[in-house]
């Protein structure tokens, strides 16, 4: 992260500097801020909602809300974390509207019980992802995320796709750090199970 101390010695990241300029009367710079983050916001929305039209709506809503609330951004967190928080909340509202029934179980405690971890002994091919085109990989990922519980999905996306830290993820989702860790383990194992059929070494299946 590019940052430099400002006049009073506070760390100002590039996004925060841009935010200050926007607030000081340069609205056209908001487009630059959007360009920096639009893909990340869209990915977050798509991963949570699992529907391209909804993801686009949420992406637009997120940035509209961001511009309206820009005054509340204090610069004490990274701008991307703040934005992710808005994106997640917006996506959740949409999810709640579309799938009220799914939502009800969302805040239940998550258990990690080792007994249910599938002990798949098949090894994967070398660099399995290279067997697929980008479109195919995106398809595989979306397919794999599809059946996953939204609360696992959002943790996985923020941590492993957006590379937020555990603390930032907790902050964005309003979860405890411990809760993020538990859900992340569950999410990674589930994703692994769902990808496995595509990545298994074929030679084992061919053996008599």
């Amino acid at each position: 992260m590019n940052s430099e101390p400002d006049a009073v010695g506070i760390k100002v990241d590039q996004d925060f500097a841009l935010v200050q300029q926007i607030r000081a009367g340069h609205p056209e710079l908001f487009h630059e801020l959007v360009r920096r983050h639009e893909r990340a916001v869209y990915r977050t929305a798509l991963a949570i909602l699992h529907n391209p039209e909804d993801a686009e709506d949420v992406t637009q809503e997120t940035f509209l809300r961001a511009v309206q609330h820009l005054d509340q951004f204090r610069g004490d967190a990274r701008f991307s974390t703040w934005l992710t928080q808005i994106a997640v909340n917006t996506a959740r509202m949409k999810l709640r509207k579309n799938h009220a029934h799914l939502w009800e179980s969302l805040d239940e405690p998550v258990q990690t019980d080792e007994g249910s971890v599938s002990r798949d002994v098949a090894e994967w091919r070398e660099n399995p992802e290279q067997q697929y085109t980008r479109e195919e990989r995106q398809g595989l990922l979306m397919q794999a995320l599809k059946g996953m519980h939204p609360s696992y999905r959002s943790v996985l996306v923020l941590r492993d796709l957006q590379h937020l830290s555990t603390e930032e993820t907790a902050q964005a989702l309003g979860l405890s750090v411990a809760n993020v860790k538990t859900r992340l383990l569950r999410a990674r194992l589930q994703l692994r199970e769902r990808l496995a059929p595509h990545f298994r070494q074929e030679k084992k299946e061919q053996q008599p």
Binding site: A7, A17, Q21, R23, A24, Y42, E56, R192
Partner: protein
């Protein structure tokens, strides 16, 4: 040797490289002896590598264009709403367009705040952080310029009598918020240095309580001559932006 269950509990930290060296070694030791765990670790690592690809989810065609178009509409609507308001903005120019947008932004943010903190009213006496934009007017002249604060001028504000009364900000609706002593001094300091004569726009942030604001940051709005184009270099922009609101 650690158990399979223990290995599972260390899996995330192991894959994220956050395990202490001794535990790391013990996980590896377990993997050498336990083939299922070895496969588990390996395939989960592959799963992460599969995700760790910036391009795995691309923006579909048109999403970005529609997003920027909608934002531009929003920005234009805010500007238009404020340019339509009486006496608020002098003849339209690129600079006033940008500035009037900030009015819109400030109002939108304020509205949002009011909605969020339902109980909070515009004239609430509870102290709260606020960002205000308006014209710099001293208390002595506040009543006189309530209807046309943009006509208040530098020489007036810096005259001994006016300066002694203390400076503050006249908001668009004719509401006046006075600065604390430190804020007033900082405003005077910046005004002396500013290359302006009249239309003394000011952006101020601080703890507001009723008709008074304890100023934390203050900036005489960027002069119309300062455009973004004047700072093509991004490094410069950062330096300029960090000066936009002067903390003191």
């Amino acid at each position: 040797m650690i158990s399979c269950a223990e290995l599972l509990s260390y899996l995330n930290d192991f894959l994220d490289g956050e395990l202490d060296p001794e535990l790391h070694r013990r996980v590896l030791e377990h993997c050498r002896a336990c083939s299922p765990c070895n496969v588990l670790v390996d395939t989960t690592r592959n799963t992460l590598r599969f995700l760790d690809n910036d391009e795995i989810i691309e923006l579909p065609e048109g999403v970005s264009q529609r997003l920027h178009a909608r934002l531009q509409q929003h920005i234009d609507a805010l500007s238009a709403a404020h340019e339509a308001g009486p006496k608020l903005v002098s003849p339209a120019s690129e600079a006033t367009r940008g500035r009037s947008w900030v009015w819109g932004l400030a109002m939108a943010a304020l509205m949002t705040l009011l909605v969020i903190f339902g109980g909070l009213h515009l004239h609430s006496t509870a102290a709260h952080m606020a960002t205000l934009q308006g014209w710099l007017v001293d208390q002595h002249c506040a009543a006189k310029y309530a209807d046309h604060p943009q006509d208040h001028y530098k020489a007036c504000a810096l005259s001994p009598e006016c300066l002694a009364s203390g400076l503050g900000v006249m908001l668009s609706g004719g509401d006046y918020v006075r600065f604390d002593k430190a804020g007033s001094d900082e405003a005077a300091r910046q005004l002396r240095e500013a290359n302006v004569t009249t239309d003394l726009r000011v952006l101020v942030r601080g703890m507001r309580k009723g008709d008074m604001i304890q100023v934390r940051q203050l900036s005489l709005d960027m002069a119309p001559s300062v455009s973004v184009d004047a700072f093509p270099d991004p490094g410069n922009q950062v330096a300029v932006a960090s000066k936009v609101l002067v903390s003191f």
